[in-house]
């Protein structure tokens, strides 16, 4: 960037010399431009953060009725609000369910997809391309398309309202298999050839070589899967009835209902929202590097 700035500056200086304007004027104009850019960017960033900022502030208040900026001072009820949400309204259970569901799905999906990617990349067998397409095609079958018959199927299996129902259907992931496959393809073939010549088996190769070499991608994929699963709303809404098993996302819907009838203050709804927002956000912030790396693979 500095190099291009210098180049541009030099070129600009030459032009301005012929145009009769001073170099210092030009430099100042550059600085003003950068300043404008920063102001613009900062404004947009602020606008994007604003709603959640407000929500966070409100979550610390007692009643949560804010109608003007003046009302936005942080309330002193943060601790009592969060305690009430978690314990009094049993939001801790929703959080736990969401957490268990997400972790189970992430671990399950990782294992299942690693095995699938291993086969797709390192095995030779007939109709392999057909199998890969079979897996990829599921991308065209998102939850909204199949959730009605899926509901029927799950109910008929007697599995509705179970932990099984909100985890197993998510275990096959075309995107994960795809991302892992792309990553495996970037590993030199000679590594697996030398393993083969030395008599190293496929599972040992997966565990001792592929997994350690895929750390960043595995973390990135795990974050993506966790966020995706944590944010699931439609399927848990449909398949889980018992409040004790419900996940945080749908729990928010319950909170909203209670707020509409006046049972619960709006500040509590915001508290619940902040609680639900925290885990995926924390993961994003902690692992943003791996996440960005994984996205670039996915794009190709």
């Amino acid at each position: 960037m500095l190099g291009s700035l210098l180049t541009a500056l030099t070129a600009a200086a030459e032009r301005s010399r012929s145009a009769g304007r001073t170099t210092s004027e030009r430099i100042r104009r550059f600085e003003t431009e950068q300043l404008t850019l920063h102001v613009l960017a900062a404004t947009i960033v602020f606008l994007i953060i604003l709603p959640v900022l407000i929500a966070a502030l409100v979550s610390t208040k007692r009643a949560g009725i804010v109608t003007s900026i003046g009302d936005l001072a942080p309330g002193g009820h943060a601790l009592s609000n969060y305690r009430r949400a978690l314990i009094g309204l049993e939001f801790w259970r929703f959080m736990l369910n969401s957490f268990l569901m997400s972790v189970a799905v992430v671990v399950g999906k990782l294992v299942v997809s690693l095995l699938a990617a291993l086969v797709i990349v390192y095995y030779r067998f007939p109709y392999k391309n057909a199998v890969f397409l079979f897996i990829l095609f599921t991308l065209l079958l998102p939850v909204p398309v199949r959730f009605v018959p899926l509901y029927r199927l799950t109910t008929e299996l007697g599995m509705s309202n179970t932990f099984f129902a909100i985890t197993v259907p998510y275990l096959a992931s075309a995107t994960t298999v795809f991302i892992l496959r792309q990553h495996f393809l970037s590993i030199p073939a000679s590594l697996v050839e030398t393993a083969k010549v030395d008599g190293v088996g496929p599972l040992r190769f997966l565990w001792s070589v592929l997994v350690p070499m895929s750390r960043a991608v595995l973390v990135g994929v795990s974050v993506i899967m966790f966020v995706y699963t944590w944010n699931q709303y439609l399927w848990p809404l449909v398949i889980i009835n018992a409040e004790s098993l419900q996940v945080a996302q749908v729990g928010l819907s319950l909170l909203r209902g209670q707020a509409s009838t006046g049972e619960v203050a709006w500040s509590m709804v915001m508290t619940g929202s902040m609680l639900t927002l925290l885990p995926p956000l924390a993961l994003l912030v902690l692992f943003r590097r791996q996440l960005l790396e994984t996205f670039t693979i996915q794009q190709k």
């Binding site: 950068q34 949560g64 079958l141 009605v148 096959a172 927002l277």
Partner: protein
């Protein structure tokens, strides 16, 4: 690539693939197939599915409510795609042009990716609430009567804003990466030639990052049709009077409020075909207009 395929034990391959294949078959393919089958029946909670052939589809074609929902969905998705990409493009370009502090802005802008749609919906519901929303009083100062609980177009706009707000971050991730891959020399040439920033963005960068843009159009379309369910459910429940009754929400209500599973399956099939065709169309268009290669 084929020299990697060193393992040839087919039984092993089968066993390792089994979980993925079983789950895909049972929970992904089978329900989809069954949706088609179910769409030919009238089915409800009470046992006894009645075969009615194509009646469900006929009902769809003649239902003004459903057709309205189709219109709303398409309009909504289109607005989401355009809105999200326009905003994201500006933001990404800004970040690209800034010399210092890129990383900070980037993180500050992409975090909504982690934002649960439900939370997004709730927060917007709260701050734009006709009665108690904090934005409401300021907007009303402009003479606009904020009453989107009963005003259809307003409700549409509010949900739209929430949807766009949430999705911008995801787009910015990919756009900044793509812009970052544009060769420095192109920027320098354009600057040397005195090309203004906006022209540079539109005429140089956009064509070069068009593969990314195509990818994002497809992802945003899917989001516009499916990913906004929670927002609708929490903010408007499809109302007022069907103003935000996007297809996926309409589907949900048919199945789980009216318990008409057969009818809902027909809607699922239509939705699947519609979105599939849409994506295919986008993909083919991209082949013509997108600029691939260095």
């Amino acid at each position: 690539m084929s020299t990697r395929e060193v393992f040839t034990d087919r039984l092993q391959a089968g066993v390792l693939l089994l979980p993925t294949m079983v789950v895909s078959l049972v929970f992904l393919y089978y329900p989809t197939v069954r949706a088609v089958g179910l769409s030919l029946y009238r089915a409800s909670l009470a046992r006894g599915d009645v075969f009615v052939g194509l009646e469900n589809y006929r009902r769809l074609a003649s239902s003004s409510e459903y057709l309205r929902s189709v219109l709303i969905s398409v309009l909504f998705a289109a607005c989401v795609v355009v809105g999200v990409m326009a905003v994201a493009l500006c933001v990404s370009f800004l970040i690209h042009e800034i010399d210092v502090g890129k990383g900070v802005y980037l993180v500050a802008v992409i975090w909504p990716y982690a934002l649960p749609p439900a939370v997004a919906g709730l927060v917007f519901l709260f701050i734009a609430h006709p009665n108690i929303g904090i934005f409401t009083s300021y907007i009303e100062a402009f003479g606009v009567d904020v009453n989107w609980f009963s005003n259809g177009p307003q409700a549409f706009v509010v949900v739209l804003i929430a949807a766009v707000w949430k999705q911008v971050g995801y787009n910015v991730i990919f756009m900044t990466a793509a812009l970052g891959n544009v060769p420095e020399s192109l920027t320098e040439t354009a600057e040397l030639d005195g090309v203004s920033r906006t022209r540079r963005l539109l005429r140089v960068y956009v064509p070069i990052i068009s593969p990314t843009l195509v990818f994002l159009v497809i992802m945003n379309t899917i989001y516009g049709f499916f990913g906004t369910f929670a927002m609708v459910d929490l903010m408007t429940k499809g109302g007022p009077a069907g103003a935000t009754n996007i297809l996926i929400y309409d589907l949900y209500r048919t199945a789980f409020q009216f318990y008409e599973f057969g009818f809902a399956s027909a809607k699922s099939v239509v939705l699947f075909v519609a979105v599939g065709l849409l994506m295919y169309g986008q993909f083919r268009l991209s082949d013509r207009y997108a600029y691939y290669g260095g």
